[in-house]
């Protein structure tokens, strides 16, 4: 993935002399740290996916396209209004919550007619629609934004970490914690967890199931808006940019256990490290091989994932 390779290229600049055939502990440690930083953003994308799966029991195929749309939204706000990508979270996170809410409430939910297979097709159709709309508006060029802090770094003596990626890590962890708190402590969160397993029981205590579905979808989409704001300072966007992330995110969701929030978080960090290390040892273009080897191994040996409930 270009994100990882760009990061590692950046890492390489900082490391003075990587000539030894066996990498020095500093280089490996840097790779692990960079993997964790990347992994936190992966986890954020995976959180949205796993939340929607856990509650609505559907794979949201529009997840990648919505991430791309959010990244373009960051780009547009930067180009038109000069809004910093981090500041852009303030309007974009609520906006994408509303977009996600409306999509589920007024498009995906009604179009499903109670049949999960329909939802699959509707979200797939949505993703094609969104991608092509973006293609029509922005063409297929890859675009980036310039921010003054893009190449700033934090010096840890043995490693230099790119500042935007450290920020991305911190914000991702905070968002994941906030999401956990929402689900564990608020009535809305409890209602979301209730609906996930017992729709009829939820309706009978007066929970509006369609509303809770839409809120869940909105939360998943809001996670994407956060991820987009965190990615744009160091990443490019094209109409297909989000797809690559969702591919990795899907692996994380399977690894962590479909529907598991801690699974998505830990799985995301783990996959980030795997990608970083396999990139280091096998070379840039093979960085993702480790991810997909793990993906296949999980499907073979532990299909419920690390934190998934056993059937």
């Amino acid at each position: 993935m270009p994100f990882a390779s760009a990061a590692r290229a950046a890492g390489r600049e900082f490391i003075s002399n990587p000539v030894a055939p066996m990498f020095s502990p500093e280089i490996v440690a840097t790779a692990v740290l960079n993997g964790l930083l990347t992994g936190a953003v992966y986890a954020l994308v995976a959180l949205g996916l796993t939340l929607v799966y856990g509650v609505l029991h559907i794979i949201n195929f529009a997840h990648g396209a919505l991430l791309t749309a959010a990244m373009f939204a960051v780009l547009v706000l930067k180009l038109w209004l000069g809004l910093d990508p981090y500041v852009a979270m303030v309007p974009l996170v609520p906006l994408f919550f509303i977009i996600g809410y409306a999509l589920q409430r007024f498009v995906i939910g009604p179009a499903s007619h109670g049949n999960d297979a329909n939802i699959l097709l509707v979200t797939l159709g949505l993703s094609i629609l969104i991608e092509n709309l973006l293609l029509a508006i922005f063409r297929s060029d890859t675009r980036t934004i310039d921010v003054p802090y893009a190449f700033m770094s934090i010096d840890l003596d043995f490693a230099l970490l790119a500042l935007p990626r450290v920020i991305a890590f911190g914000v991702s962890v905070v968002v994941a914690a906030a999401l956990w708190a929402l689900l564990a402590l608020t009535d809305t969160g409890k209602a979301i967890r209730a609906v996930a397993k017992e729709k009829l029981g939820a309706a009978l205590v007066g929970i509006d199931v369609a509303h809770v579905y839409a809120v869940t979808f909105g939360l998943g989409t809001a996670c994407l808006a956060v991820a987009a704001c965190l990615l744009m300072p160091t990443f490019y966007v094209s109409p297909r940019a989000g797809g690559a992330f969702v591919f990795v995110a899907f692996t994380i969701v399977v690894l962590g256990g479909m529907g598991s929030i801690p699974g998505a978080l830990i799985g995301g960090l783990f996959i980030g490290v795997v990608e970083s290390l396999s990139g280091l040892y096998f070379g840039e273009s093979l960085g993702q091989i480790g991810i997909f080897a793990i993906f296949i191994a999980i499907l073979l040996f532990r299909p419920t994932g690390l934190f998934g409930a056993r059937a």
């Binding site: 009535d187 409890k190 209602a191 967890r193 209730a194 996930a196 397993k197 017992e198 009829l200 029981g201 939820a202 309706a203 009978l204 205590v205 007066g206 929970i207 509006d208």
Partner: protein, 239 residues
């Protein structure tokens, strides 16, 4: 006037799934403070009636008045908000939430302000639930799950509590306790509609009863009279 009008009044109710009618003209009333038993064998339409009353299923004809207001066709949350709470067959508790959270969600739509007091009251009625407060509801025994389902229903301070097959799947001893408990909750002032297959014990605690057969009530009256009526067995067994 308000004192004499029934809490729940159902007239000419017709409902079913995909055009096939299950309920074929139901008339039913529940007066404030009483226990009304709705009896009938498996598959005669008792659960369908409950689904319509709680807004999960929309009736195709007829009228439902609760506390003076039309509620037929209203959505489930609005019906809960009005104070009609349905404890469903099969409990339908939230398996991944703990006991305490299940009870909290009982007051999601109604009586939220009194949550703390009602939690204390439910734990007082069901000490067993208090012991298992932080246990995942899915790991409770069948009897405990039934207590939790009723406790969750009580959390909304219902005006009418519909209990659908509360004795189903319980051991004879627990069934006995369950009926004692239902009577106690009723004595505390709660109006109850008890939907049961367990005829004998239901008639013991109910004031009035309706016997359903094939989507219609074929017998209705004082529980004591029905219990003595030789017709009951015939109707109930569908002979």
């Amino acid at each position: 006037m308000a004192e004499t009008s029934p809490l729940l009044a159902v007239t000419g109710l017709v409902a079913g799934y995909g055009g096939a009618p299950i309920l074929r003209g139901i008339d039913l009333s529940v007066e404030p403070g009483e226990i009304v038993a709705v009896l009938g064998a498996n598959g005669v339409g008792k659960t369908t009636l409950n689904k319509v009353l709680s807004g999960v299923l929309t009736p195709s004809a007829g009228e439902i008045r609760f506390d003076g207001e039309r509620i037929d066709g209203a959505a489930a949350p609005a019906i809960v908000a009005a104070g009609l709470v349905h404890v469903p067959e099969g409990r339908k508790i939230f398996p991944d939430l703990d006991v305490h959270e299940n009870l909290e969600l009982g007051s999601y739509r109604r009586a939220r302000a009194n949550r703390a007091a009602n939690l204390a009251r439910v734990y007082d009625i069901f000490p067993r639930l208090a012991e298992r407060r932080r246990q995942r509801a899915g790991t409770l025994s069948g009897g405990e799950q039934q207590m939790l389902a009723i406790g969750r229903g009580l959390m909304a301070e219902p005006k009418l509590l519909i209990l659908d097959e509360p004795s189903l799947g319980l051991s004879p001893l627990l069934v006995e306790q369950m009926f004692t408990l239902i009577r106690r909750i009723n004595t505390d002032g709660l109006t109850i509609m008890l939907v049961e297959q367990n005829v004998v014990q239901s008639l013991e605690i109910a004031g009035r009863a309706f016997v359903m057969e094939n989507g219609r009530f074929v017998m209705a009256g004082a529980a004591r009279d029905l219990a003595a009526d030789p017709q009951l067995e015939k109707a109930y067994l569908g002979l």
